[in-house]
């Protein structure tokens, strides 16, 4: 049990540092076992060190940066033991355009390992999908309508109507 846990912990940790390096352009991310009691019971702590800075409390990170840490952790676990499908409901809401594009590429990269269902308002994220479903509410009832991404002009709001 101890051996299995440590092996998993170490591979999640190395995935996590890789992900943080990619998402925060050069930052150092690390998961640490708290020095307390037995390895089989102790908790885990995350630390992030941005480029040019000392290690800081996660509390000081910005809204978007906190989302990036969550995304990094999600993909670190996915690489070890993917679930058959992932549902991501507007995980890009706090991201700037660069990071939204990066998230889209990350989802695309792992979509051969597992299925993704992504709810988003950001064209930079939805353009990676092979199937696009529009949902709209008419007369108080939700219905599904087809949406063609090609028809979605970049500078106009996304039209989803019956």
């Amino acid at each position: 049990a101890k051996k299995v846990f440590l092996e998993t912990f170490n591979s999640v940790n190395s995935n996590f540092s890789e992900m943080i390096e990619e998402l925060f352009e050069g930052a150092k991310g690390e998961m640490r076992l708290l020095p307390e009691k037995d390895v089989l019971e102790t908790g885990i702590e995350i630390s992030i060190k941005k480029v040019g800075k000392k290690e800081q409390n996660l509390y000081l990170l910005s809204g978007g940066e906190k989302s990036l840490v969550g995304i990094a952790l999600l993909f670190s676990l996915l690489k070890i033991n993917p679930s058959p499908f992932y549902i991501l409901d507007e995980v890009d809401a706090a991201l700037d355009d660069y990071n939204a594009e990066r998230l889209g590429r990350l989802i695309k990269r792992y979509s051969d390992k597992t299925q993704f269902i992504v709810v988003t308002h950001n064209k930079l994220v939805m353009e990676n999908a092979d199937i696009l479903h529009g949902i709209t509410m008419t007369n108080g009832i939700s219905t599904i309508v087809p949406v063609e991404l090609e028809k979605v002009a970049d500078d106009k709001p996304l039209e989803v109507t019956t």
Binding site: V4, F5, T8, V12, M31, T42, G43, I44, E45, I46, L58, L61, G63, K66, S67, V69, G70, I71, L73, L74, L77, L78, I80, N81, S83, P84, F85, Y86, I87, L88, D89, E90, V91, A93, A94, I107, S111, D112, Q115, F116, I117, V118, V119, N128, A129, D130, I131, L132, H133, G134, I135, T136, M137, N139, G140, I141, S142, T143, L158, V160
Partner: protein, 158 residues
């Protein structure tokens, strides 16, 4: 094991039956604010036995049932079915709830207990809280997880 289709009828804002095809790779669900996108996510959680009002964003039990609109009366049953494919074989999983609160779970057409459903999925990792369904507004909350919660995540992945 791949998810192929989601069927929703009478659950939350789905007053009429809808069927959603799911790609093997990436499926995007888009649409205006308040149109029902997160209700689809709730529907999938619900089939896996989710019973917490908070996670289903409801206040009372019958909030799960379509509450009616102009010209369409409220539903008396909420029904969600997920259709998977595994090595060419189709696998159907569904949950149904009636106004009296009775829940019926089915696996390939047979009524089963929720526990049987969870055993069936246990090996696959589907439905596991954290790393397969991220609800709206949750992705940035992970940094607030306690050391014990983070440990539990790693153990689930082991």
């Amino acid at each position: 094991m791949k998810l192929k289709k989601i069927i929703i009828d009478g659950f939350k804002s789905f007053g009429r039956p809808v069927s959603i095809n799911i790609s093997e790779n990436i499926t995007a669900i888009v649409g205006p604010n308040g149109s029902g996108k997160s209700n689809v996510v709730d529907a999938i959680r619900w089939v896996f036995g989710e019973h917490s009002y908070k996670n289903l964003r409801t206040v009372k039990k019958n909030d799960i049932l379509f509450s009616g609109s102009n010209g369409t009366s409220a539903s008396n049953r909420a029904y969600v079915k997920l259709i998977f494919e595994d090595d060419g074989k189709e696998i159907d999983v569904s949950r149904e709830m009636l106004r009296d609160g009775k829940n019926i779970y089915m696996l390939n057409g047979e009524v089963v207990r929720l526990k049987d459903l969870m055993d069936f999925f246990a090996g696959t990792g589907a439905g596991k809280e954290f790393y397969s369904i991220i609800a709206q507004g949750q992705i940035d909350k992970i940094v607030n997880a306690t050391p014990e919660e983070l440990r539990k995540l790693i153990e689930e992945a082991a």
